[in-house]
Amino acid sequence: MFPAPFEYVAPSTLDQAVRLLQQYGPDARILAGGQSLIPMMRFRLANPRVLIDLNRIPGLDFLEEDRGVLRIGAMVRHRLIERAPLIRQRYPLLADTARVIADPIVRNRGTVGGSVAHADPAGDWGAALLAAKAEVVISGPRGRRISQRTIPLAEFFTGPFMTALEPGEIVTEIRVPASGPREAGAYLKIERKVGDFAVVAVGVQIALDADGVCRKAGIGLCAVGPTSLRAQEAEEWLIGKRLDESTLARAGELAAAAAQPTSDTRGPAEYKRDMVRVLTIRALRKALERIPKA
């Protein structure tokens, strides 16, 4: 099918993009990688009157560590995360995630910022970045100027496909605390076939102190709730403990308890809940294996 007619504009600065978004209000929509929006437009599930394309704005695709933070520009494509040596070496949670999103061709276009803004509860970045304790940088109009605000990702997701974005606001950056020396993560996903959205997926990020005691834990759940979820009780359970098998098993149970799965074509709720338990344990094991021995 063809999208309904619309007007297209490709600003070359962020300022222009924010102004345009402000000017056209709810009739306008941001276009990033287009890998969710264009299919929706083809089905006429989305019928924006004006499309504001971010692809001609230079400088929104940075990927760098800077003073204790991994900075991911909103227009960074999934593919860049998958390939970047920095990510492969220091952020296995993110490298794992990029590799299982859609298929390689979709990953060439789809962006991290677009995924986060889309706020699909079955989106993989939501769960992975919750585990990584990410923050979202939002640029928007303030009077005649453009200003930025930064909020935790957990506060950004407000419901299925709903976010804390206000009119005129654009996601410009995702910030992840830089990985420490004895820190690692993993992302595991059950999918019906390659390239499909998750039946269930779980991301974890953990850090140990010199004695092997857990000092930091993040657990994000994908496709088992109205938004991507953080398994907070499971995270708190891990802190201050040595991560032996029985500790991991309990974390799996707590994560499963935090899930709010529903039955659908991808599986019954009970199955999904149990898979949250299993994937949490496996992802924690994998992350532990990846932490260099002291």
Binding site: P5, F6, E7, V9, A10, D103, P104, N108
Partner: protein, 185 residues
């Protein structure tokens, strides 16, 4: 419609030179675009909602690029945009303004099939052929990047291209054969 005739220089795609003319900052329903397709420059006016694949097929008459789905799932429409495989059904033609595009029509040179095309022929890498243009374009970009792939790597690289006929075995063999042929050159 082809506005100017250029020299055909099909082959390894290059990054398009940065263009000075930025797209207007006023929203519009129609846009004038310039693209280079298979080494040949084109200029055309397109509706904003024209998907790149229909621009290639209906306006330029390059019907080698196929449309197999409505959901960005099948990869039959895969082309190279500045050297990277993209699904041309999930991009607007206006977004390709200034870009260099390679389609399946640009693979053969001087009437001689590209080694990948030959390998698909020899290994029986197709039956109905509907998926083949997309397979070829994805495999072409992949072999540029990874000239000595493992079977596993080939399967991952092609995982966004669906084939309803072959069961993939011969497609993988064809890519392996092409890799060997190209390495031997």
């Amino acid at each position: 419609m082809p506005a100017r005739k250029g020299k055909r220089t099909a082959g390894a795609p290059r990054r398009a030179a940065p263009r000075k003319a930025a797209v207007a900052v006023q929203p519009a329903a129609r846009h004038r675009i310039q693209v280079t397709v298979n080494g040949r420059p084109y200029e055309a006016e397109v509706e904003a909602r024209t998907l790149l694949v229909y621009f290639l097929r209906d306006m330029l008459g390059l019907t080698g690029t196929h449309v197999g789905c409505d959901t960005t799932s099948c990869g039959a429409c895969t082309i190279l945009l500045n050297g990277e495989p993209v699904k041309s059904c999930t991009m607007f033609a206006v977004q390709a303004d200034g870009a260099e595009i390679l389609t399946v029509e640009g693979l053969a040179r001087d009437g001689e099939l590209h080694p990948l095309q030959k390998a698909f022929w020899e290994e029986h890498g197709l039956q109905c052929g509907f998926c083949t243009p997309g397979m070829l374009m994805t495999a072409y970009a992949f072999l540029n990047e990874n000239p000595r792939p493992s079977e596993e790597e080939i399967r991952v690289a092609l995982s966004g291209n669906l084939c309803r006929c072959t069961g993939y075995m011969n497609i993988v063999k064809a890519v392996q054969r092409a890799a060997q042929e190209m390495a031997a050159r």
